[in-house]
């Protein structure tokens, strides 16, 4: 029984999802399903935290189809956190939209199951299935306002482009399977580093890897695979946008980091990945920031801003061999998630029924009508800028520090230039909310629902608290504080895998000369 203990969080989450599914069919008051989901996620989070603390080293079970390590637990906790916050954003929102249905929470939970799977396996096929589970659930959520054309169009675009990306991803897996004979990343890593192995320079394998990267790039919205993001973010209901912008992106990066970590084991693949990521990061940052400036719709703007942040994260991924880079990326993901949740929670509240008022000009002067929303938005925007005493600052700081160490100074400079560009549009939101006169057409209710208040207060507190950087203090915010503390260890666990493989491999040492130049992932 205890052999399967590492699977308990996934199993528990699946159970919660199934119960929620039943509840949505049987319980009339759908908000109860929401509450149940939140409580369930809390339990899953608690379980994950507990196991994270006790489990020694990575666990490979079910014939290596499941690999649960600190890295997985990190994301379990993050996903649960995002899930809970999303529930609280969604409950009042759906209430107002008169679209309160248990299936919403059910699907969200199922997509979380998919994400859990995405971080609990080294098996590409399993990862892909997790990926698809997540995607299918999200497709439906994006189209939640089924009578609204905007929402329909969003889901249409997302579904078709997503299927295309999935097919490409799958083709990549097939090619990897054909060339390596396995789709297990650990085995692939072992083959790559095995002496005399030609896998790293195999064309089929390389193309397979590239196709898989295209699939991942699609989900994390890296340029040029980003085109869907603004349209889908705009079309989706705000809580779903929040969920996508945070959880889906984090899951995509979880996948990406795992892939990149093993790619970096081989010199030629490292070179290829390096060059792709280098230019991809630059392109992504610039495209994100240039397009974001011109946006009038808040969610669209956040979508482009998210693309820009993908660019920053790619810089971090590029620095991955450097100690601290992994931590930086994970921390950045948390910071980014908290920040976006806060910003979109505000948008979900202010935009009014059917989100008719989600243009920036509709937010005008809203800080004075809803001070908490104003503060939350300001804090989030400053966090996205990378302002000190916010989570975003430490994220950026750690990223840049790691990149500096990895001799990526040009990228850091470009990232800084982009940060300067981004100030424009982030600040415009704050200016609009605080400086401009109160908009007349605002349709939001006079009073703010309790759940929204709670979410806003939480995100403000969390963003500021993690920005203060007092990581060693007893966690006031479940799931947040230990993340940073343990992220480092988790990254070690992740990146240690290929090394462990090498050391237990059949032949000692690396024979091929180029491999020597390849720095180990963690010092």
């Amino acid at each position: 029984m205890l052999t399967y203990a590492p699977l308990f969080p996934v199993i528990l989450l699946t159970l919660v999802a199934l119960v929620a599914m039943l509840m949505s069919a049987l319980v009339r008051d759908a908000s109860r399903t929401g509450v149940f989901s939140a409580v369930g996620l809390l339990f899953v989070m608690a379980l994950s935290l507990q196991q994270w603390g006790t489990q020694q080293g990575p666990a490979n079970i079910l014939g290596n189809a499941v690999t649960v390590d600190g890295y997985s637990y990190f994301f379990y906790v993050l996903f649960c956190l995002i899930g809970i916050v999303t529930v609280f954003i969604a409950m009042p929102h759906l209430e107002r939209e008169q679209a309160q249905r248990g299936e919403f929470y059910t699907l969200m939970l199922f997509s979380l199951v998919g994400m859990f799977v995405m971080v609990s396996s080294d098996d590409l096929m399993t990862l892909f299935l997790g990926f698809e589970t997540m995607s299918l659930a999200i497709y439906v959520l994006v189209g939640w306002r089924r009578h609204q054309l905007r929402s329909n169009e969003g889901v249409l675009k997302y579904f078709f482009l997503g299927s295309l990306a999935a097919a490409i991803f799958l083709y990549g897996i097939a090619l990897i399977y054909g060339s390596a004979g396995t789709v297990n990343l650990q085995s692939v890593a072992a083959l790559l580093t095995a002496p005399g192995s030609a896998l790293g320079v195999n064309g089929v394998f390389t193309v397979g890897v590239l196709l898989v990267l295209v699939g991942v790039g699609f989900k994390i919205a890296a340029v040029p695979f980003h085109m869907w993001t603004p349209d889908v973010y705009e079309g989706a209901p705000a809580p779903v946008t929040a969920f996508m912008a945070t959880a889906v992106k984090a899951a995509g990066f979880a996948l990406g980091i795992r892939l990149i970590a093993f790619l970096f084991e081989h010199q030629q693949l490292h070179d290829i990945a390096h060059i792709i990521l280098f230019y991809g990061a630059i392109l992504t940052m610039f495209v994100g920031n240039f397009f974001a400036l011109a946006q009038k719709n808040f969610k669209r703007m956040l979508a482009y801003s998210g693309i820009a942040h993908t660019g920053y994260l790619l810089v971090g991924m590029l620095a991955l061999p450097e100690a601290g880079a992994g931590t930086a990326v994970l921390y950045y993901l948390v910071a980014y998630a908290l920040t976006n949740l806060g910003a979109l929670a505000v948008a979900a509240f202010i935009s009014g029924r059917e989100e008719k008022f989600d243009n920036l000009e509709d937010f005008s002067g809203m800080a004075w009508r809803y001070p908490l929303a104003g503060i939350c938005m300001a804090v989030c925007m400053f966090s996205l800028i990378g302002f000190p005493l916010t989570a975003g600052f430490f994220g950026k700081y750690m990223l840049f520090a790691a990149a500096f160490k990895a001799n990526l100074a040009p990228l850091v400079v470009i990232a800084i230039v982009n940060s300067i560009l981004s100030v424009y549009y982030y600040l415009r939101v704050v200016v609009v909310m605080f400086v401009e006169p109160v908009a007349e057409n605002a349709a939001a209710p006079e009073t703010m629902p309790l759940a929204t208040k709670a979410v806003l207060a939480y995100t403000v507190a969390a963003v500021v608290w993690s920005g203060v950087g007092t990581f060693n203090v007893t966690p006031f915010f479940p799931g947040l504080v230990p993340l940073r503390a343990k992220a480092e260890a988790s990254m070690k666990a992740l990146t240690a895998i290929p090394q462990a493989r090498v050391s237990t491999g059949t032949v000692e040492g690396k024979s091929s000369a180029p491999l020597q130049a390849n720095a180990p992932l963690i010092h």
């Binding site: 004075w368 400053f382 800028i385 990378g386 302002f387 000190p388 005493l389 600052f393 950026k396 700081y397 840049f400 520090a401 500096f404 160490k405 100074a409 850091v412 400079v413 800084i416 940060s419 300067i420 100030v423 424009y424 600040l427 200016v431 605080f434 400086v435 950087g469 007092t470 990581f471 060693n472 480092e488």
Partner: protein, 528 residues
């Protein structure tokens, strides 16, 4: 370990937040009184710093106030506060200026007073934090926090062109801040490379071996950040817009303290942490500073709005201060720090006066004034005093600093110092002309004839400033001698030895060439 500095920083910060949170938007009295009490209490508390500063030979640092705690251990970031001769008086200046700013805004803020007064307090706390930090990271954090309340004060309470001013202000300062972030990370990484650990403490970063090429870029990044704050030509255009659009008490605070922090940053970080790059680049930067001196003086000459005139005057004076900051003689360094205070007092006072003018006449356009000295003689007297102080009249606060800077800079850059010295002509020109057009002449406008003279509250605000103007001009030595040890320490980072003390004359007073014999070799009668 003393908590004094923490209290000095945290008290206004928390009081500011409390004012914002616990006050209803319609309530004006609570924020007003709350802010005033908090500011005055903090001012009184900050006087405690003088106990060390004026104690005489206290060495470089006031060790008794030092606080050091680990903050983010993984990155060697410390919560580390301390003060020395450079920062002590600037902290005092900050607390006093905060009190004055709060009192000066007493009636001018009509709505959202809680945000206004709360922001002023937060700004004050952040500025003290900047001045007291001994860790680069902490410094950066306070530096950025400082931006926020300034943004609010300008954006929400500014004049009709506040959006424009706000964007310019933000763009400039954010560009600077992010560049500084690169520099901060660079220095940390260099420490890591050289010593194997992360550390951001100032002491750890001074004298760090740096790779020359990258160091000069990082140096420029820091300089950009600080130069923008200190309005170095050609990065000055945010200043006139922001100063003229912000409420005058806020402008008072910005001009008196915030612009000074840019110079403080240069002296504390940019210059001493990159001594080689600094010495290479200093002549060029000094040339920019001097260009700013002259440029802004001419611009001031052409202004027809008093706010803009004083703003450009302030840019011009900041140019002089920057010239001092880019010089390496002891006189220039001490003069720079002294002038930060001396200039703060005069320019701040001028902005206050302009604020009073705006409140009375509803306009600061020079053409809307004329002959006011007849109508408001007390105001005119204060104004005259501050105006003369601003043109650097000896015996008033701005002279000593300006003199020391020009004096010291002359050693390193004779031509530049000479060019900068033209500001004493141009400064007199625009200031006097302004005064004459505003206060002198016959009263031709009925609105001017109806103006009221200074009220008791305004007089009470100006009185301490006036005393400071005269006191700093007549007896600057206590402040100068408190700054001096820090300046020696500072110069040592560039390998500059201070000049020898005035030589006991190597030979006795000799007779002049044609002097008659019976008067030769007679000592002057002295007693001290």
């Amino acid at each position: 370990m003393s908590f004094f500095l923490t209290l000095l920083i945290a008290f206004p910060l928390l009081a500011g937040l409390a004012v914002m949170v616990f006050s209803s938007p319609d309530d004006g009295d609570f924020p007003r009184w709350g802010a005033l009490v908090a500011a005055v209490v903090n001012t009184c508390a900050s006087l405690g710093l003088l106990s060390g500063a004026l104690a005489g030979e206290h060495g470089w640092l006031l060790r008794s106030f030092e606080e050091k705690r680990a903050w983010v251990e993984a990155f060697g970031i410390h919560y580390w506060l301390r003060v020395d001769g450079f920062s002590t008086f600037l902290i005092l200046l900050t607390t006093v200026a905060t009190s004055v700013a709060v009192a000066a805004s007493w009636n001018s803020v009509k709505s959202r007073a809680h945000i206004y007064f709360g922001s002023i307090l937060v700004l004050s706390g952040a500025m003290i934090g900047v001045l007291a930090s001994a860790d680069l990271f902490l410094f950066y954090v306070f530096w950025e926090i400082m931006l926020l309340p300034a943004l609010f004060l300008l954006g929400i309470f500014g004049g009709s062109l506040r959006r424009d001013a706000l964007y310019k202000f933000v763009i400039y300062t954010m560009v600077g801040s992010l560049l500084m972030l690169v520099g901060v990370v660079f220095l940390g990484a260099q420490h890591l490379a050289a010593r194997g650990t992360w550390d951001f403490g100032f002491d750890a970063l001074y004298g760090l071996p740096l790779s020359p090429g990258a160091a000069s870029w990082a140096f420029l990044a820091f300089v950009a950040a600080f130069a923008i704050k200190a309005a170095l030509f050609p990065f000055h255009t945010w200043l006139p817009t922001a100063y003229s659009q912000a409420p005058m008490p806020v402008t008072f605070l910005l001009s008196a303290v915030m612009a000074k922090l840019g110079v403080y940053g240069l002296l504390r970080i940019a210059m001493p942490m990159f001594p080689d790059a600094a010495q290479t680049a200093a002549p060029y930067l000094a040339a920019l500073a001097v260009a700013g001196v002259i440029y802004a003086a001419f611009a001031a000459l052409a202004q027809d709005d008093a706010k803009l005139l004083v703003a450009y005057a302030s840019v011009s004076h900041l140019g002089v201060i920057l010239l001092g900051a880019f010089s390496f003689s002891q006189q220039a360094v001490v003069g720079t720090v002294f002038h930060l205070i001396g200039h703060a007092v005069t320019t701040g006072a001028l902005f206050l006066l302009v604020g009073f003018m705006a409140e009375r006449r509803g306009s600061t356009l020079i053409s809307d004034w004329g002959g006011a000295a007849r109508v408001m003689p007390v105001f005119a007297t204060f104004f005259m005093l501050m105006m003369l102080a601003a043109v650097g009249l000896p015996g008033l606060s701005a002279f000593v600093g300006e003199f020391l800077i020009l004096f010291g800079a002359f050693r390193d850059y004779a031509v530049l110092a000479a060019l900068a010295a033209t500001s004493i002509i141009l400064g007199a020109a625009y200031m006097l002309w302004w005064y004459q057009r505003t206060m002198f002449g016959a009263v031709t406008q009925p609105e001017v004839a109806r103006l009221k003279d200074l009220t008791l509250r305004e007089g009470a605000l100006l009185l301490p400033i006036m005393l400071a103007v005269i006191g700093l001009g007549v007896y600057p030595q206590p402040v100068v001698s408190a700054i001096t040890p820090a300046s020696v320490q500072y110069l040592a980072r560039f390998g500059v030895e201070p000049d020898k003390s005035p030589t006991a004359s190597p030979k006795n007073l000799e007779p002049l060439r044609h002097q008659s014999r019976e008067h030769a070799h007679q000592e002057p009668v002295t007693s001290h």
